[in-house]
């Protein structure tokens, strides 16, 4: 009988500091067993359980694109026990990984559509995976226009700056990076994400919106998308919840009869409207 709780060993190849506060790091890992790495196939929006012996496990969204077959990246904010222990690790050390879990974004359904990504703060991780997936030369022609509106509190808190710079130079993605408050070096947009979203006013014509961020950002972004004509079935959300097993059994991440780890974490706004407001 297969035992999904046994993690697979992976080596931390590279650790990248992502923000000024240095509480967000990206861990690039590679499975020790090549066959395991080959079998680890995921879609954008899925997550995995990261394990540190003696500390425990925690669920983290996959930040790299499924097109990157050599490694997997996780962007982790230092918050609890496991994430703090992970932040104290160095390159070359070993972690356990099991997964991938969750439904992920419906990328096949999104093919042929314009994609509008609305992200705030640290919740950008799986949307960064999605953005890089769409931008991959093998995939770009299968999607329409790609608009990314991404905001953080300050310029120093914007993560994936290397990607932002790269995307800003391309003509097949409209990037609108914004900050709540700028500093002397900042020449970009200043304003909350919902405000910028309203200014950019992306068309809802043949479009899908993907929204991830703090609850307050989501609350103010939904009415803007609604005004633009996005139906609730074409607005996607990815939820966070305390999880242990990651496979719908340990019982804590449910919203009504749905388990966020197994039936989610991606839900359409329409689905969320039909679920209890318990998240």
């Amino acid at each position: 009988m297969p035992n999904p709780y046994l993690p697979n060993s992976a080596v931390i190849q590279r650790i990248t500091d992502e923000n000024e506060a240095r509480d967000i790091k990206t861990f690039q890992v590679a499975f020790c067993d090549e066959k395991v790495g080959e079998a680890f196939r995921f879609t954008c929006g899925q997550f995995a359980e990261l394990s540190l012996w003696g500390v425990g496990e925690c669920p983290i969204g996959i930040a790299s694109s499924p097109m990157d077959r050599e490694y997997v990246q996780f962007t982790v904010k230092r918050t609890g026990l496991v994430t703090t222990a992970l932040h104290n690790r160095e390159e070359g050390s070993t972690v356990g990984i099991r997964g991938p879990y969750g439904n992920g974004f419906p990328v096949q359904m999104m093919e042929g559509s314009n994609v509008v990504i609305v992200a705030g703060g640290f919740a950008f991780t799986t949307l960064r995976s999605l953005t890089n997936y769409i931008l991959h030369p093998d995939n770009r022609h299968r999607f329409g226009d790609l608009t990314v509106i991404y905001g953080a509190r300050s310029p120093g808190e914007l993560i994936y700056k290397y990607d932002l710079e790269d995307w800003a130079r391309r003509d097949d993605i409209q990037l609108h990076a914004t900050v709540d408050a700028g500093d002397e070096g900042w020449t970009g947009l200043v304003g909350y994400v919902p405000t910028i979203l309203e200014q950019v006013a992306p068309s809802s014509q043949n479009a899908v919106a993907v929204v991830c961020g703090p609850p307050i950002m989501i609350r103010f972004s939904i009415p803007v998308l609604d005004k633009q004509g996005f139906p609730p079935s074409r607005i996607l959300n990815s939820l966070e919840m305390r999880m242990k097993c990651g496979i719908g059994k340990c019982g804590r991440c449910n919203i009504g009869d749905k388990y966020v780890c197994k039936d989610g974490p991606v839900f359409t706004f329409e689905e969320l409207q039909n679920l209890p407001k318990e998240y």
């Binding site: 425990g56 609890g80 242990k244 019982g251």
Partner: protein, 336 residues
Amino acid sequence: MMDARAIDKGRIVGLLDELIERCEVFAPVMSDDVVLFDKIAWGSEARLDFGNSKRLPKEAFFPPSEVMFIYEGAQAEAPPSKGDRVLFGIRPCDARSFLLLDKVFNTPDYQDAYYVEKRERTCVVGIGCNRPLSTCFCTSVGGGPFNEEGIDVLLSDLGDRYLVQVISERGRRLLEGNGLLGEATESDLREGNRIAAEARERVTSMVETEGLRDRLMGMYDDPFWDALHQKCLGCGVCTYLCPTCHCFDVLDEGGEQRGRRVRIWDTCQSALFTLHASGHNPRPSGRERMRQRIMHKFRYFVDNCGEIACVGCGRCIRNCPVNMDLREVLSGIMER
């Protein structure tokens, strides 16, 4: 025709001793004034003269804490499987709970490596309830005091002997060639039927569950929950002593080099159960947590698994420190 035997009560110890020679036997024992199921070394340790055990026979499949694997360096290894087991003398409500747990831990897309492995090598010997307790309401939730669901061999207490009914092929194999058992007579069978029918009449607690799930559909924001949880202490005994509860936590014991990962029971009645690392809690008070317990058993489980996740054993009623009575809660919902 059903395979029916009979055994004198004086020979039950001998039967258990014979089983102990062949497999691990778990039976009701008295420990610190609590009846629980434990592995016995001698047939004489078993107690069959109890209402129902306080602790749960499900512990034999889903223990309160269980080593998932032992790790050393980069290696992690799950504990090996052991031999055949018998779970002897369990009540029909508890046996029925196994079928509900199967719907969680043994489904087409998920076979729990720990639960299924133990379940598959365990023969379940049940004992009917001649005298159901005042808190029993099994007949309201699809069960009965002599219900055979989940049972391989069913014992019925006929006074000086037990009627032994073989329900399944696994039960037949367990008793094959056992010299202590005799053939049941016509009168044994008649007496067994009479006792079972009488016992069913004795379950006087009735709860209306028809339409309960639909009623709960519209009750998520009902003020009912505001009042309900007020006297609850949040101790979680209703979940720890529930035969159908199955939530768990996963944690590590040991250090970075060597240790073990353990699965332990958890309860939706604890604030920590859903507390995010950020400090946000989607179920911040007893109101949401009580609602979750009721909704899970009587609505969500029905939607996901097709049945109510309650077998009417009454443990949550008997053991609640503030006398919260699930039967009253359910009638309260039906009256909304």
